[in-house]
């Protein structure tokens, strides 16, 4: 079967009835929402009823790709979405090889509703779907599930998405895994998948993807490739990121004075310690080979590693990614790179969210230091900062996934655990909308503070984080204006200047929404691609054959952003929920001298952001005029029907 890319299909799976059905989505959706994250935002708003029980049969888990997937632009990106157990949107994107295989099987989206009465997995091959028994897989770790399923289906090219024991046990924030070390949907997509008793999805397709204008595609691909390939990119970050990967950021951030240390009590880490967990020792000692997602032009943003000696001898894994060295390192004051590798590897094997584990451990360590916990509470574990009991910590991660002993408390996440413990520990639980933070510091960069606070999924920097906000060498303000971006780049890239932050955040959120809807990888927003989306616009037109002007293409991103916000406000979130964590707003940083994030300054940035978006300054609900302008009049009517004050 050869796919064209105008019409997208959705496989509806009702696990309560044990039935599946393949449908097509309206053709105009490809122009209006593009695909992937964009279509998921629309489906979530339309199909998940307001105030639905996240673990009930009404919550729907979407897994899907977009029109550019299967071509080399797709990069294997896959979006997973559902309503988060915290009530927010839970949407995340992951790489690997599942996306292209799904499209080649004739399916663009999977919508899983209902609840199975026993563990099952889905086996999809060329448009056909089977719901199969998965009792033998239940309780298995991620790597074991991968190996067992591959054996069972006896085809090396079958691709999987699965959850680990953490997802089965509804552990806070657990994501969905694939290709062993790729994960996505950390706001709780794994929890929801576990609540539906869906252990895994396996897919194999034999189709091909035909692009509408192949010559146009080649031309646009050359243009795109030149900007993102290691050898030709004008962006100095590209080779560093592409070859070294994320471990570089510990030292880079520390030099900028912004690495969260000891549960963000401080923001500077000892330089020697930084060097010990940085990219160079990782490459020299542990890396075995490079790995990549489908058709990625970067050589080694993901790597396989193995520990060859010492207490963790023989531990293998991959993908030391997403600021892992900075959250398992400085945040816990741990300068042992092997322990970082093992803790991250344990999270991957048990299907846990690394951010949840790292921040909850950091919170527990601070409780331990402040005397809120004693060794009697922690099952005898010495839980000081600096990680003196390494084996004990690794064991604790297993207990979190299986909800045993002290692990059961931590499995509720920072916010949940601090509510139970009390005694002032809520003040240093670093959460926004119930979700743990990530590896980027707030008090030295107001844009980060604002972006994390307003995000519809809880902290998720990939929705807006510009790798290098300024780009002064490549783009001038005049160039930006010609691209339809009206802001002062110099002011926007000053860390602690509240000016322009609302506008620049709006732009990045919108443009990232487009990239994730195509889909393509947000880590390739390099060179001038953060502001100039023309290469992506050309690729979209060449692949789908839909002619659309540039401004309309950008508007698709704005639509996605507004749909996410509409879902969030319908669930009862308001302006008061768009807040930085207590610590960032109320405590000064002692050593580097960054003061707390002043409430007046933050409110000003928030006003700017809402104003720029056309949202109500009082409630953060999108205004009716804005929704009408975007062709989302039905959304505004739906919000009014739910009894909300939508301003005109």
């Amino acid at each position: 079967m050869i796919r064209d890319n105008k019409v997208q299909t959705i496989l509806r799976v009702d696990l309560s009835l044990g039935k599946t059905r393949l449908e097509t989505l309206p053709e105009e959706w490809t122009a209006k929402y593009i695909g992937c994250r964009g279509v998921h935002s629309r489906l979530l708003f339309d199909e998940v009823p307001p105030k639905a029980d996240p673990f009930g049969p009404d919550n729907i888990l979407y897994i899907g790709t977009g029109p550019l997937e299967g071509t080399p632009i797709g990069m294997g990106r896959l979006s997973v979405a559902c309503k988060s157990p915290r009530g927010t949107v839970a949407e995340g994107s992951c790489g690997g090889f599942f996306g292209p295989e799904l499209r080649r099987a004739g399916i663009d989206y999977i919508a899983v509703s209902g609840k199975a009465d026993r563990p099952v997995y889905l086996w999809l091959h060329d448009g056909e779907a089977e719901i199969r028994d998965a009792r033998h897989l239940w309780g298995r770790k991620v790597n074991e599930t991968d190996a067992l399923l591959r054996e069972e289906l006896s085809d090396p090219d079958v691709q999987f998405r699965y959850i680990g024991p953490a997802g089965e046990n509804l552990v806070h924030s657990s994501p969905i895994f694939g290709n062993r070390d790729n994960s996505g949907g950390r706001a709780g997509c794994g929890e929801v998948m576990g609540s539906k008793k869906l252990k895994a999805i396996a897919v194999r397709g034999s189709g091909g993807i035909r692009v509408a204008d192949y010559e146009g595609f080649l031309k646009a691909y050359r243009n795109f490739h030149r900007r993102v390939a290691v050898a030709t990119s004008r962006d100095v970050w590209t080779p560093i990121w592409g070859a070294y990967g994320a471990p570089v950021i510990v030292r880079v951030f520390n030099d900028q004075g912004g690495i969260m240390t000891r549960n963000a009590q401080e923001m500077h880490w000892d330089e020697e310690k930084c060097n010990r967990v940085s990219a160079e020792p990782y490459l020299e000692k542990y890396v075995t080979r490079a790995k990549a997602c489908f058709c990625c032009p970067l050589p080694a943003c993901k790597k396989q590693h193995a520990i060859r000696s010492g207490p963790f001898e023989g531990f293998r894994g991959g993908n030391l990614w997403a600021a892992i060295p900075s959250i398992f390192g400085p945040l816990l004051d741990n300068d042992d790179l092997e322990l970082i590798i093992v803790m991250a590897g344990m999270c991957n094997q048990y299907g846990l969210d690394v951010f949840h584990v790292a921040y909850t451990l950091a919170w527990a360590m601070e409780c331990f230091e402040k005397g809120i916990f004693t060794q009697a509470d922690t099952d005898g574990l010495d839980l000081r900062f600096g990680c003196p009991d390494k084996a004990g910590l690794v064991e604790l991660i297993r207990k979190i996934a299986l909800r045993e002993g002290f692990g059961d408390l931590l499995a509720r996440g920072c916010a949940g655990a601090s509510k139970i413990v009390g005694k002032g520990s809520e003040k240093f639980a670093l959460v926004v909308k119930g979700q743990e933070l990530e590896g980027i510091a707030h008090r030295n960069s107001y844009m980060v503070a604002l972006g994390v606070a307003v995000s519809e999924v809880g902290p998720d920097h990939t929705r807006w984080y510009p790798p290098h906000p300024g780009h002064p060498a490549l783009l001038k303000n005049e160039d930006l204006a010609s691209l339809g971006v009206h802001l002062d780049l110099a002011k926007a890239s000053q860390g602690r200047n509240p000016e322009e932050k609302g506008k620049v955040l709006r732009w990045f959120t919108m443009s990232r929404a487009i990239v994730e809807s195509l889909p393509s990888c947000v880590f390739l927003v390099r060179d001038t691609l953060g502001f100039d989306l023309h290469p992506w616009h050309d690729l979209f037109q060449a692949v789908t054959g839909i002619q659309m002007d540039y401004a309309e293409f950008i508007r698709a991103g704005e639509r996605v952003m507004n749909l996410d916000r509409a879902f969030l406000v319908r669930e009862g979130f308001r302006r008061a929920d768009d807040r930085p964590p207590f610590r960032m707003a109320n405590e000064d940083v002692p050593d580097f001298g960054f003061p707390k994030l002043d409430a007046a300054i933050f409110d000003r940035m928030l006003d700017d952001y809402y104003q720029a978006n056309g949202w109500s300054l009082k409630t953060s609900i999108p205004r009716q005029s804005k929704l009408e302008e975007l062709g989302l009049g039905d959304v505004s009517r739906d919000l009014e029907k739910c009894g909300m004050e939508v301003e005109p």
């Binding site: 080649r104 090396p156 090219d157 091909g208 390939a229 070859a243 060097n275 080979r289 790995k291 058709c295």
Partner: protein
Amino acid sequence: MKRIYVIEDLCNGCRLCQTFCSSLKTGVFNPDDPQTGIRVLKMPGEEQDIPLVQCSGTCLRSIGGNEEPTCVTLCPTGALIYGNLEFARSRRMELAAARETHGLFKVLAPWKWPFPWARPQKDSGKA
């Protein structure tokens, strides 16, 4: 005679070569197309990827100009080499020498790295 040589160690398994190759004749991206001149076998457990070449290297249409097949131009790590046997040997030796100097070349061929590289002094403690 020029042909495509493979350094298996460097393959990261992205399948950019295979996917692009499949499209050059028909305009359809299908890595399983039987006419595809290069296939990447993925070993279970994400441990290793092995490119197999069944192609003379005279590319139907080269994305980066006529001197080099598309797969070699696009290979991000340098796992594919186009040239005669002598050239392929020299590339392998270049890689082996570079690997003595820095761990970066476990994942990337030195001719794909845009910066000149100098080994940092071991005792200085800083890169």
